[in-house]
Symmetry: C2
Subunit: 280 residues, 2 copies
């Protein structure tokens, strides 16, 4: 396995690979890898000749009061996991390399960024779209794999790729959960034992929403109220948002026709956790 | 010469060319070609194995009260000029092809867009950066050639390429002028005979600024006042802006050290004309 920190070296590697007719599958991460990432790597290995994974905690997607400084970092452990998952190249640039002095070019997916996490984290998706556009250009990926826990991110990246005519297949992979239902997330590391237990309310609420929908309750108001009362019953949980929305536009739905996205963000202690499920 | 209107066909052509080890030089235009464009094509022919020129009047860079609808278009004439200049491929997509319904992804070079033309044409450079990013991805150019009449545009594209790590060499070419000094522009077509004469005041004012600088006048205020009085003496001319600014940041300079950009935009009849010159 190769570790590359330099942008030009990564581009040269990828240019050479593409000239040799090899396809490049790419898994962008912020490190602190868990089984969710492992499922993306496994898929990447299947789909591409060469598997590149980036580890980069992207400063421009964090707000001034968010957890950029404290975001968990453990490169040694991440490299061991990458190796075990047959990654060919880990791309791990420094923040100053990705954002040299005077950096000022941003990619913005205007409407999709104005919902859900975009409302509580202004500038977040502009930071995400910008870094992914840069990584795609640096890594020259033909296939890129994203987890669907970040459903909105996945949708935004697909839209960016389409709108900017990027030659990349964006593949989404299902949420990986712990045995008790908690969605895998690097931010689960922030939770103490009590908070871990409390965090189960996200999944419980989603399952309740799904059950109601399957019992023919199609009014979002009713579904949301039941879900909200589950979260509110948990003293350690503070709701950021719970929404029933269109799976393509992310606009709120008053009434579900065939399908909808149930999405929520909840703060448990220091951790802001997100989760979702598709109805229908 | 090949004429391509389909995005996938253009990408397939360029992918194939690059696989064959050919370099692609690219000249993006809005058509209505003149000798300024011809100088870019000549340079492109020199620098690349394959010369691609796009003709696309980009709707998203025009403001609601600007001349998108009336912008001069003459594809037949443009194709003849392209052929005479040994263009290999003309890429001429329809607006609906470049901006399908639901398009919402924009590239913004934040600070450089906040000066000169960016102030009088809000959204203009976001539209320019976005279409050029798309065209670069579609055409897969290694070399792209821009005219320096649009000095700010050239600077913004160079910055975008650097910030987003695009593998493109951006080459600037000197302004091409008519024998009387008028900078070549597709918008010169809007001018009647009297307005054509009036339009010479842009060049006259720039030459006056240059002469003052060469006579050791370094205070921008003095230079600007002399230039402004030349334009104001012309009854058909209305100043949009005249600035003395830093050649890299485009920030206004009170006093010139070694070098500066003199840039101006002036309305003559229906035409908004721009011109510039580098001092030092």
């Amino acid at each position: 396995m190769k570790l590359i920190t330099d942008i030009e070296e990564m581009q040269a590697f990828s240019n050479h690979a593409r000239k040799m007719g090899k396809s490049i599958a790419f898994v962008p991460t912020m490190g602190c890898l868990h089984d969710g990432h492992a499922s993306l790597l496994k898929k990447g290995k299947e789909l591409g000749d060469i598997l590149v994974m980036s580890i980069f905690v992207n400063p421009i997607q964090f707000g001034p009061r968010e957890d950029y400084a404290s975001y968990p970092r453990d490169l040694k452990r991440d490299l061991a996991i990458a190796e075990a998952n047959k990654v060919d190249v880990v791309f791990n640039p420094a923040a100053e390399v990705m954002y040299a002095q005077g950096f000022q070019t941003y990619v913005d997916v205007a409407y999709l960024s104005k919902h859900l996490c975009g409302l509580s984290r202004p500038g977040y998706f502009k930071g995400v779209a910008t870094v992914v556009a840069k990584l795609f250009t640096i890594v020259k990926a033909q296939i890129a794999i994203f987890g669907e826990k970040d459903y909105q991110q996945h949708l935004i990246i697909k839209k960016m790729v389409k709108d900017l005519n990027m030659d990349v297949d964006v593949v989404g992979m299902p949420i990986v959960r712990e045995i008790n239902g908690l969605a895998m997330s690097s931010r689960n590391n922030y939770l103490n034992n009590d908070e871990r237990k409390a965090a189960l309310c996200l999944y419980t609420a989603l399952m309740k929403g799904k059950e109601l929908f399957e019992n023919d309750i199609k009014e979002s108001g009713i579904i949301l109220q039941e879900m909200r009362s589950i979260i509110e019953a948990e003293p350690l949980a503070v709701i950021d948002y719970i929404n029933v929305c269109d799976i393509n536009t992310l606009e709120d739905l008053d009434k579900i026709q065939d399908t909808a996205l149930l999405a929520l963000a909840v703060k448990i202690g220091k951790a802001r956790l997100i989760d979702n499920c598709i109805l229908g």
